[in-house]
Structures are given as structure tokens and as C-alpha cells.
């Protein structure tokens, strides 16, 4: 692309938004970039794109059936790119905080030789995270003329009224068909979709129909089967190959001194406008921050591990029999698909579910400096004051590890919020308990929503060690717990409620773990 250049003309490219650039060879003024270039009039458009590609790193991905190469800022939301840049208006804006699901899209990623799909809310997802992926909007699952299987089920069951939330539901349900997860229901797949019109029962019926159809699916040729059964259009069969091509062309995005963003479920709720203009450093695809490893009785989870990855880990499931149930209490399907451990820890919310979960596991954090050196600290010491934590500017949270539970140990997680699912806890709590011959030999309890940080209950845990496991011990320990917490009244509940709830959830651990020894009526004296 080096056309014969003739005359000097001043060309001004007006951009929608200020955009990120790799170097500064040209005059840049707010959202205008002035290029002094030579070109013939015929070559205007090719030169524009040529210069753009020189100046800015590109994000390459497949959007529905179309390959996208864009120089749009990596920090803008995928939602804005879809609606405003691509004019795909089926993806709706409901809340821009991941709490309604109207903007649900699917993200397909090459895993081995096939594409693994999951749903996300694209309002809080940076465009840059689409790099190298297949993004599917409702337009991308439409068949040319007739309705697809999910859409038909929705229509047949009268599951759409005002229609605004509907594309989100349709996409989530199609994701359910594509995901091929065991032991999940269509309701789980739409747990992040809010509908204000229908009351859900009709949507649920549509879901049952879909579940029934999927019973017959051919797991060996899943995509082909879904195409044949009219769930998805034909082009899906080409995606794996096209993603491979895309991968080879793609080089890692450079990063320096930028706002670190994993999957955005917290940062983009609060700062989407700001991040649109920022140089974001995207962590999501950093392999060294991913993975769940078991070695010598220690489990290590990369900071980038998502809640879904935890929930789906067969090893962790073997360790925590109720793991899926616990994880279902955390947000919704699309948010679990995005939300990372590290994000939850550095968000530093006193009610961070993952913080509470792993505090009670008595975990250790590995923190890495830019120069590659590492330090390890007990997770209990990470959170210091409200939203203050032990992580320097040049450091990154790398991983978390905890000792695998032995035969005498058990673990429980509890959470109560105004709405059971897709809500932030009023109080959450977790406990890890080792009991030998009915004597507590080790205990680690944590409670959220009851102090300015996710609270590791030092005194309560210490108190329990060496005591006989019975109702009396639990009641006494609970009194210690009350001395350790200091909940405040806010929109998630009055302080006296949180105190009572902290007690109840503390009791719940024992009732759940030792149902024959500890009963509710003994604890509350009825």
C-alpha cells in the first residue's frame, strides 16, 4: 500500500471519540488528528485506513459473521461498539451496570479446536477483550427468514411483551444451547436477565422446551447438530477455523502505565465513561494469571480465574461438594463468566463474596512486582482499611493459594441478600473447620458486611480451637463473633439486622456441616 503520492493536502480525520495511539508522530488535538499526507483524491479512503492501521493498534475479532478490524479505543465498551459503531441495535441498553442483561452477548473463544461460548453483559466489557474472539449478538443468531429454535420457543410460550429485554434472553438461551454445560438449567443461563413485563413463567416454559430439545443433542457434533436443529445459523460452523486464522494474525497489544482492567465487572460499572478515554491495560487474556493448579496439597488459582471457572472446576467440585450451590449465590451467569478473583479482592468491598470465601480457606496471596519478583502474604492481611489494601502501584495480584481440605475438614459458605440471586450480600460468611473426635482442631471464619473490610474472624476462630463441638460452644463463639464485628446501617440493612444475620449465618455453618450435632432450636433456645 504505497501509492504514488502527488500533492500535499491537509486532511483532517474527525473521530467520534479520542482514541488511543501507539506513538505520537502526528499532530493530535483533542479528538482530532491532523495528518499531513500526500495522496491522490482517488486514494483517500484507502489511505485513511492505512494511516489508521499504522497509528493505532487494531482489535481483530469476529462479530457475528463479519470480521472486524477496528482502531476504536480498547477501553470503550463492547456495547457502544456494537450499537454505535456497527449499528446493531438489537443489543439494548438497560442499566450499564451488568444488572439487567438487556445487553447480553456471547463470547466465543477457541479452546482446543472448538469454540467455547459463554454469555457476558457487554455494557461493562471493554472492547479490547473481544480481541481474537467471536462476539455474537442477537442479529448473529437470527436465521435468514424464520425464527430460530429459541426464538420460536419464546414466541410460542408468549414470553415476550414489551420486547426490550427479549433479545438479551434470546441470546442467553442460545448461549445455554451452545455451552453444553452439565447440570445447569436454562433458568441458570438467564439468571442475569431481568424482565419487568412477563413475570417470567412464560419465559421459564420456553426454557423447559429448549432443555427438552437439547436432550437429544449430539455432543460429538454439537455445532452441526445445533445448526441442523435451527438453533444457530450455518456460519457458526466456519467460526473455529476463522478464529484460528485471526489468532495467527494477531499480536499482543502493547501496554505501559495504563489502567489495569481484567473483565471490567466492577471498574466498568463505576468508570465506564472515564475508561473509554483511557489507555487500558487488559489483563483478561494474560495466561500467567489464569488457571487452577493442584500441587502437593495446595490449590493455586490465578488472579484472573473467573467465578465460572471455579464453579466448573471438577477438582474444586470434588473438594467442595456444594460448590455449584455456593457459586450460584454469586451474581448472575454473565457476571460469573467475567468476574475474576483478583477483581473481587482489589475491589475490596467489605462484602466481596470471593474475599469471604477465600479468607475462610486461610489462603495466601502471591503478589508480583513489575520486575518479576514475588512476595507472599496471608490473605487475612491484604485488606487493611475500608478500600485500602496491600498492593503497590508497580505490583499485580498474581495468584491465591490455599491448603486443600483434609478428611477432617469441612467448609461452608452462606450469603443473604434482599434478592437471593444477582444481588450484593447484606451479610455473607464462610467457615473452614477441622474436627477430630468431636474437638475443633482448626477453625477459620470470615464474615462480610459486618466491618469496614472483608472480615477474617481471628478471635472467633481462635476461640473455637480446642473446644468440643456442641451447641454451647457455637453459642459462646457467636458471642465472640459479635465482639469482633461492627456493622453499619445502610441500604443493605440496619446494623442490628446485620448483627442478627451474622449470628444466623454463623449458626448456619454448623447446622449445615453438622446437622446431627447442631440444631437450630438448641442454638436459639426454643
Amino acid at each position: 500500500m504505497s501509492p504514488k503520492i502527488e500533492i500535499s493536502i491537509l486532511s483532517e480525520i474527525k473521530l467520534e471519540k479520542p482514541i488511543t495511539y501507539r506513538s505520537k508522530p502526528y499532530l493530535i488535538n483533542s479528538n482530532r488528528i491532523t495528518l499531513f499526507v500526500y495522496y491522490s483524491k482517488k486514494q483517500i479512503s484507502s489511505l485513511h485506513s492505512f494511516f489508521l492501521s499504522c497509528l493505532f493498534y487494531m482489535i481483530d475479532f469476529i462479530l457475528n459473521n463479519q470480521i472486524i478490524k477496528t482502531s476504536a479505543g480498547a477501553g470503550i465498551t463492547l456495547l457502544d461498539f456494537i450499537r454505535d459503531f456497527q449499528q446493531l441495535k438489537g443489543t439494548k441498553i438497560g442499566c450499564r451496570e451488568g444488572d439487567c442483561g438487556a445487553c447480553t452477548v456471547l463470547v466465543g473463544e477457541l479452546v482446543d479446536n472448538s469454540v467455547a461460548y459463554q454469555s457476558i453483559t457487554c455494557c461493562i466489557s471493554p472492547l479490547g477483550n473481544a480481541n481474537g474472539k467471536h462476539i455474537v449478538t442477537v442479529e448473529g443468531i437470527n436465521l435468514p427468514k424464520e425464527l430460530n429454535t429459541v426464538q420460536k420457543a419464546m414466541v410460542d410460550n408468549f414470553a415476550t411483551q414489551c420486547g426490550f429485554c427479549t433479545p438479551g434472553f434470546v441470546v442467553s438461551m442460545t448461549g445455554f444451547a451452545l455451552e453444553n454445560k452439565i447440570n445447569t438449567t436454562c433458568n441458570d443461563a438467564i439468571s442475569g436477565n431481568i424482565c419487568r413485563c412477563t413475570g417470567y413463567k412464560s419465559i421459564e416454559k420456553a426454557g423447559f422446551e429448549i432443555e427438552e430439545k437439547l436432550q437429544q443433542r449430539d455432543n460429538n457434533h454439537q455445532i452441526d447438530w445445533l445448526i441442523k436443529e435451527g438453533f444457530i445459523p450455518n456460519y457458526f460452523e466456519t467460526i473455529a477455523e476463522r478464529l484460528k486464522q485471526l489468532k495467527t494474525q494477531h499480536s499482543e497489544i502493547e501496554s505501559s502505565n495504563r489502567v489495569k482492567v481484567a473483565n471490567g465487572t466492577d471498574l466498568y460499572v463505576r468508570h465506564a465513561d472515564k475508561l473509554a478515554d483511557e489507555n487500558v491495560e487488559l489483563l483478561a487474556d494474560k495466561k500467567e494469571l489464569k488457571g487452577i493448579l493442584f500441587s502437593e496439597g495446595v490449590c493455586t488459582l490465578g488472579a484472573n480465574t473467573t467465578v465460572t471457572e471455579i464453579a466448573n472446576s471438577t477438582e474444586l467440585q470434588a473438594l467442595f461438594l456444594k460448590l455449584k450451590k455456593f457459586m450460584k449465590l454469586i451474581s448472575s451467569e454473565p457476571i460469573r463468566n467475567m468476574g475474576t478473583l483478583g477483581g473481587n479482592f482489589v475491589n475490596a468491598s467489605p462484602i466481596g463474596d470471593m474475599s469471604i470465601f477465600f479468607l475462610a480457606l486461610n489462603s495466601t496471596l502471591t503478589i508480583q512486582k513489575e520486575d518479576g519478583t514475588e512476595r507472599h502474604i496471608p490473605f487475612q492481611e491484604f485488606h487493611q482499611k475500608y478500600k485500602v489494601f496491600d498492593l503497590q502501584e508497580d505490583e499485580i495480584l498474581k495468584s491465591l493459594s490455599f491448603k486443600v481440605l483434609d478428611a477432617n475438614e469441612s467448609f461452608n459458605f452462606e450469603k443473604v441478600s434482599k434478592r437471593t440471586h444477582l444481588d450484593i450480600a447484606s451479610v455473607n460468611s464462610a467457615g473452614r473447620l477441622s474436627v477430630k473426635n468431636n474437638i475443633v482442631t482448626d477453625a477459620h471464619f470470615a464474615v462480610g458486611g459486618a466491618a469496614e473490610i472483608p472480615k477474617y474472624l481471628h478471635k472467633t476462630s481462635e476461640f473455637l480451637v480446642g473446644k468440643a463441638l456442641n451447641a454451647e460452644t457455637v453459642k459462646k463463639a457467636e458471642a465472640v463473633l459479635q465482639s469482633e464485628i461492627s456493622p453499619i446501617s445502610d441500604v443493605r440493612g440496619a446494623s442490628e439486622y446485620k448483627r442478627l444475620l451474622a449470628r444466623q449465618l454463623f449458626y448456619a455453618h454448623f447446622i449445615e456441616l453438622f446437622p446431627s450435632e447442631i440444631e437450630l432450636n438448641k442454638l436459639i433456645g426454643q
Binding site: F158, Q161, G163, Y200, V416, K418
Partner: protein, 750 residues
Amino acid sequence: MKNIDSFTHVRGESLYVDDLMLRQDVLFGLCFDSPKAHGKIKSVDYSKAEALKGVIKIFTYKDILGENQIGGIIQDEPLWAEDEVHFWGQPIAFIVAETEAIAKKARALITIDIEELPVITTAKEAKEKGSFINAPRSFKLGDSAKTFADCEYVFEGETFSNGQEHLYLETQGCYAVPQENGSIKLTSSTQGPTAVQKTAARVLGVPMHKIEVDVIRLGGGFGGKEDQATPWAVMAAVAVQYLNRPVKFMLNRHDDLRMTGKRHPYSSFYKIGLTKDLKIKAFEVEFLQNSGAAADLSPAIAERTLFHACNSYFIPNVSTTVYSCKTNLPPNTAFRGFGGPQGMFVIESAISAVADKIGIDRRQIQEENLLAENDEFSYGQIATQVEAKNTWFSAKEKFQFEKLEDEVFAFNQENKRFTKGISLMPITFGISFTNTQMNHARALIHIYLDGSVGVSTGAVEMGQGVNTKMLQVAQSVLGVSANRVKIETTNTTRVANTSPSAASSTADLNGKAVEMACKSLIDRLRKVAAKMLSSEEKNISFQEDFVYLDAEKTALSWEELITQAMAQRVALSENAHYATPIIHFDKTKEKGHPFAYHVYGTAITTVTVDCLRGTYEIDAVKMVHDFGKSMNYAVDMGQIEGGLAQGIGWMTMEEIAYGKDGRLLSNALSTYKIPDIFSAPKTVETIPLETEGSEWAIKKSKATGEPPLMYGIGTYFAIQKAVKAFNPNYKLKFHAPFTPEKVLMGLYEK
């Protein structure tokens, strides 16, 4: 027939305001609102914001050429605040910029100095301070004061029901485009196109014909866009008037939550008197409606509270008064039920309280007092075609209530970790705008040359399926197939001076107008057909796109007939006007016949409470509902289930919270929770009670929009019973919503 929009809905192809193709020179608007709930504006500094590149202009009240007034019922609300602000989130200025992002940056650069004044956030406080929107209203029947002396049981109590955010998934918004000669086209997400048109004309100082309002559809309204879609459209219109460029203004969710009003919270004080045989002989209530900072629709909503204060019960001596209390909250507004649910919650609470004190089940009192034929409502209307007892006893019988009750009892005997509760909730809801003069509608029908049909009405489609019903009416009267009929957008240039789509009456009013217009067209076409078939008009009918003669299909097709009619210069367009007969109401006496008819039903709700955690699940809601003769069960069932879910949300988890300073604390979807799929009842069953319907209902198919919301009230009392079953010390409280917090505190109350 399925909702005619479902095909495009599920494909993401249905268009909402935010999806419209924009003109290239479009600008974006954003509202700057008050950061204090009450005070005098000392100064506002816009200079930095105005200097920001890309900001075109910041509009304030000074830029208004007409009146700075958007009040509907009472003229008490400016579009943009002038010297004082009266609620947190009150619009002060309107930033217009090249992009929304620039507008947001500009907004952050505006500084304001407000001299704060005392803030009132509760109705009780407002009443104490004498802060009211208008004079109180009172309904009276018999002599309650005297009757209490004759009652065996007399109890007094207090109740509170909180507000409710509409949470339409599509936020408020408008796209305003200049036309020629100073005209402006507003594509608005409004339930009231005429309200938008009228108010825009008034604020801009132009005649109404300069303002065209078009509504494609709404991504939910629920009352929240009846009156409160107006200011946003008018702001955009003011900017267009000045700039002569298109302006798009979609509220983001946080702005929408902060700036718009909600369902009214009510504090109420009741006194109830019963005879020994449980007949409610006297009932008095003082309702304190938290109206917010301006009237909006509050007076009309207050009125409907009085209309429904006795729910489905006949009480011979009633005295009810409602105060619309002026506070420093955003003006509260219409929300499905329109004050009715708040009224019903009080009588249901009173019954519960009395039952608890007497030591009987609340349903015994309910059952003793159900409305019967020819009973008089406290507003003078005589109840006819009453189905209260019918739905009540049908529900009990068809859903085997006694068995369900026994099961709950047995469960609670055996189980202490979990308890169950069961309740019955009857509803009686009056259909018509209570303001008689609003009960009218028009339809404009075009039959095109090729026989296809376009239908315009004043009805706004917002998910309730009104377009589907309009199509059904047109198709059935014209005798053509559904695919020949198109329902057009709601547009003030085609159908003018409309009432908003509200009060559950949209299908009735507009449907009747469509029916009339189609009948007129058919009368004309019958003449043409009779001549063509050499027969008499009375022998001609139309079915399935063909002309029928003496009920026999002829070879004369609809298309051919239309071609002939056109050739004979017969008018193929028709406009019809419908106004509900029989209704009237005299506000000086507070008596009359305000409702065309009533809708009845009864719901049975069972819940399970987790007594360890204070959480609960709704096991089932089973309803017998009076549909009249439903013209579309699918659409109507959707209204029942959706209304129920909203009612349950209002009674359980939806908790509006304002700080003492008047700031909205439940200001995002992370802090304001509406039901998700897991909070829906596990079972929802509806048995339609086929009744005679009403001749004032379209095709005798009774209105279904608002009534089912009130089935949700049953959930409150079912939870209450489950709590009481666990903790006999629990003192009944009537303070909705019954959140997990209140449940847990109740379970462990000493």
C-alpha cells in the same frame, strides 16, 4: 393470536427510541439536576461547562419562549428550576453537546451554590407541617363514627406501604427533529403523546399543530411514562427550537432513577369495627400520600385510593380521607394500580390485625364481608354483575383451599427450620379513568387501494398487547385476515387529543373506536357489494377476505370489492370517536358512577420461610380471575402473570430508600432489586372465570392491565403468617415491603 410484535421482538428488530436512525447533525442532551432536595439557588456557574469543546449550548429556564410550566392537573411544576429547588434530581439545565460523553463531562464542570432549606421526606412529617399539594378528599357512606359504638370488635392501627420504582427496561427518552416552518417532530417513549404535545407547545410558546409526537412502542411504561415522559421530550424540543438541529435525549439509568417519581408511599391510620359475627360494620381511614414535590398525577391517584379503600368488601359505614402530602421527593406518579393497591393494603392489613387480635384466621373475616350484587360502594356506585364471591369460592374449590391450608398446618407442626404461610387475596378493581372526561378515544382507519388496512388509534403499545387487540378488532369487523391489517405508530397528527394509555382502559376505549370506524366502513362497503351482487345490504357479510351472501361465500373477494368501491368513489377512510356512556361522578358530593365496570378475582398464595436465614420463597400463587369473555387469553394471561410479579416485588423486595437529606439511596440496579426468575413463584396458575363480561369492555373482554398487580398483596400476608408460625411473640406489623430483613427481625423478635 400471538402478540403481533413477537417476531421482531425475539429477533431484536423491534425499534425503540434509542434505535432510531439519526440525522447526521444530531446533538445529544443531558440534564443537569439539583444536588440538594430543597433550597434557594444562589448561583450556578456554567462557564467551564460552556467552554468545553463540543458543548453547543446549555439551556435554562431563561431560554424558554413560552411558559416554564409542565404541571398537568395543577400548575405547580417548572420544566427547569428557577430560584428554588424542591427535590434532589430536579432538572435545572439541559446540556446539548456533540456527543453524550462530552455532555457528561460538561455536567461535571457545572458548579452550583444552594442555600439549603428544611427537607421533608415523609408524608407524616408533611402533614404535621401542613405541607399539602391540594385540599384533602373524603368519601363517606353511612355513619361510621356512630356505628363503632355498636361493634363488638373495634381496632385501630397504622400501616405503611413503600413506593416502587417502575423500572421499565427502556429508560425515558426522546428524539426531536426540526421540520419546516418551526415545526418539530418528537419521537417519544411516552404513554401520553398528547400530554407531550400539549406541554411542548406551551413551553415553546407555539400552537399544538407545530408539534408532532410519534410513538413507535415503549420498552415498558407501567405508569412511569404517563406523565413523566413529558419533561424530557420538552427539553429536547426547546433545544431544537433554538438550534434547529436534531437532539436526542435518552436518560441513563442512574439519572432516570434519581430524577423520576415512583409509586407513592402511603402512611395510613385506620379504625375498623366488626360485629360478633365478623361483619365489618364501620371503617375509617386517613391516608397520607407522599406525593413528592409537585402535584403530577397525585390528586387523581389519591382519589383512586379512596375508590378502592374497601377492596372487595361491602362495608355499610365508611369514612375515608386522603391527604396528598407535599414533600421534597421527586413528584411521585402513576404506577399500575394508581393508588388502588395502596388503598387495598390498608383494609387487608386491618383485617389481618383484627383477626390476630380475635384469634381467628383472617380469611374468616374476608369471607364474611365479600361484596354482593346491588351493594353500594362508598362512592355511590351500585355494584352489578359482581363476581367477588364467585371468584372467591371458585378459587377455594378449584384449588382445594382447605387441603392446602391443612398441608401448611401440618408442615408447620413438623418443621421448625422452615415454616409456611397461606393467604387469600380477593380483588375488585374499577375500570375507567376516574376523571370521567378522559374516557374517550379515536381511531382512524384507512383501507388502501390493494385492500390492505392501516389502523391508527390513540393507544400506545408498551408490551400490554394493545396493538394485537386493535388488530383483532379491526380484522374481525372487516372480515379480513390478520396479515392485511397493520397497526400504525401512535401519532398526534393522525389521532389527536388522546387520553394517555393508562387506567387499564386503552383497549376498551380505542378498541371501541376501531370497532365503530370499521363498522362505518363495512356499512359503506356493504352497499357496494349489495349492488355488485344484486342483493340487499342486510344479506351481505364479510369473512376471510371474501364477501358472503346469505352466509354463503361468494366469488367476490375483498380486493375486488375495494377496487370497485374506489372506482365508485366511496370513502375508504374512516375516523370514529368513542366516549364511554353511563359514567359520571360529582366531585362536590363525591358520589356517582365512575366506573364502566369492575374486574374481580381471588388469589391463593403459599410461601415458605427459611427461619434460619430469614429468606423466603413463594411456592405458588393460584388465581381465579374474571376475564369477562377474553378476546385474547395469551395476552391477558401475560398481564395477569406480569402484574402479579410486580405486585409481589412491591410487597417483598423492592425497597425505595431516601436519606433524610432527600437523596435517593436505592439509586442503581445494584441497590434496587426487582424480581428475577428465581424470585418468581414456583407455580403460577390462573383459572379464567368466564363471566358475562361487560358491554363496556371491548368485545366483552374485561380489562386486565392493573387488577392482577393487587394479587401480589396476598404474598405479604402469607409471609406474615409463616413468621408468626415460627415466632408466636411476633407482633404483626404492616410495613411493606416484607424484606428478608423484616422477616428475620420478625422471626427473632422477643
